[in-house]
């Protein structure tokens, strides 16, 4: 019963909830914007500052994705009720929403990070070694993806509770 939803099944549930291209684009754009800013800032800060930026990135994205997710659930109350009537658990529905969002959130973060690295270099950050830049990029992408998952789960949790 606790088996994860497959890609096809998750896609069906996501389409049922009207998670559209526009929703995906919104998630990718928010994620890219936050990652870009974080990546630029990271290149001009020491370790402690970088940690603060990563934490801020995580919290902001988490709040943003949670709001998007809550909006999605509130717009789809009737569909959720219909899905529940045929045996959909909250867990399976949330899984489908997370799976649908994390790909686009991750993609946005990837693009934002790449752009941020480029802008940082353009602004005069020539001191960071390639290995350091790589570590910073990975940290930003992981924080973004984690924030997307946590935000969507938090939005789902808050919606189910209400």
């Amino acid at each position: 019963m606790s088996r994860m939803l497959g890609v096809h099944a998750g896609d069906m549930v996501a389409r049922s909830l009207r998670i559209s291209t526009a929703t995906h684009a919104g998630v990718a754009a928010v994620s890219a914007a936050v990652a870009l800013n974080a990546m630029v800032a990271m290149q001009f800060l020491q370790t402690a500052g970088q940690a603060v930026i990563l934490a801020a990135e995580f919290v902001l994205l988490c709040v943003g994705l949670s709001a998007i997710s809550m909006d999605l659930y509130s717009r789809s109350q009737q569909t959720l009720s219909n899905l529940r009537s045929i045996g959909a658990s909250r867990g399976k529905i949330t899984q489908a929403v997370v799976a649908s969002m994390v790909v686009y959130g991750g993609l946005g973060a990837l693009l934002g990070t790449a752009a941020g690295a480029g802008i940082g270099a353009g602004l005069g950050n020539s001191g960071t070694a390639f290995a350091g830049l790589l570590v910073q990029s990975i940290a930003v992408i992981v924080a973004s993806a984690g924030a997307v998952v946590a935000g969507v789960y938090a939005g789902g949790w808050a919606s189910w509770r209400s």
Binding site: M12, V13, S81, N82, L83, S85, I86, S89, R90
Partner: protein, 238 residues
């Protein structure tokens, strides 16, 4: 305590509570902020497994409430409901959803198909929630669509179907998990005479109803004629 319906001739002899598909014990159901509208005050009955029972009564007399309580979609204000030996009134929402997916095929009065998905996908959805594997899923969906005669519409988006066609798809979806209990809420109400005949033909056919407990609410005399037992409705709730 009333025992509704009769055991089918070919069913295995069962004893005790195993004989019952649904048991209601001192069920009370009220609506309104202070529970001022009482739909059922002290309902107590048992529905035998493998029977076809119809409930008739005027609009607003609580027929849909009864179906929704059987399916665990509506909780009683008091009392207990046991379905296929499991007390559903004690289950949390997720346990109820899982139980419903395995046990109950529901054709509600209001269409609950997902208009954005195709006919095939709508019928496939309940199987997704019971984690049926891909190959078995396609076999079951094909069979359900064939059984209700809508195989030809499999790739059509539900939003483009007529009301009657949607009702057939609802029926296929209710049957796809091969549930032991089938709940039909006013199944012919929104159908034209031709579609009604097709639907009644399906209910009459042994392959879809044999061995299942079928509980139907209706105003349609042709549906009650098919039932082994018809329960008289109560008056409209003021």
């Amino acid at each position: 305590m009333a025992q509704l319906g009769v055991l089918q001739k070919n069913s295995q002899p069962q004893t005790g509570h195993e004989r019952f598909a649904v048991e209601l014990d001192h069920v009370r159901k009220c609506y309104g902020p202070n529970g001022e509208v009482e739909v059922y005050s002290d309902l107590k009955f048992q529905l035998l497994r493998g029977t076809f029972v119809a409930l008739v009564g005027p609009i607003g007399s609580g027929k849909s409430t009864m179906i929704n309580m059987f399916a665990g979609l509506d909780k009683p204000t008091g009392g207990t409901i046991t379905v296929m030996g499991q007390e559903i009134t004690k289950m949390d929402d997720d346990a109820l959803a899982a139980f419903r997916a395995r046990t109950i095929g529901l054709v509600p009065q209001v269409q609950t198909l997902i208009p954005e998905l195709t006919v095939y996908e709508n019928v496939e959805l309940p199987l997704v929630f019971t984690s049926v594997g891909g190959h078995e899923r396609s076999r079951k969906v094909d069979e359900a669509l064939r059984n209700v005669g809508v195989s030809g519409e499999a790739e059509r988006v539900v939003g483009t179907l007529s009301v009657g066609e949607r009702q057939m798809v609802s029926f296929a979806r209710a049957l796809v998990n091969d549930p032991p209990i089938l709940l039909l809420d006013e199944p012919t109400e929104s159908l034209d005479p031709l579609m009604s005949d097709v639907f009644l033909g399906l209910l009459r056919g042994d392959n879809l109803t044999k061995g299942r407990t079928v509980f139907v609410t209706t105003h349609d005399r042709r549906v009650t004629d098919l039932a082994r037992k018809t329960l008289g409705g109560r008056k409209k709730i003021p």
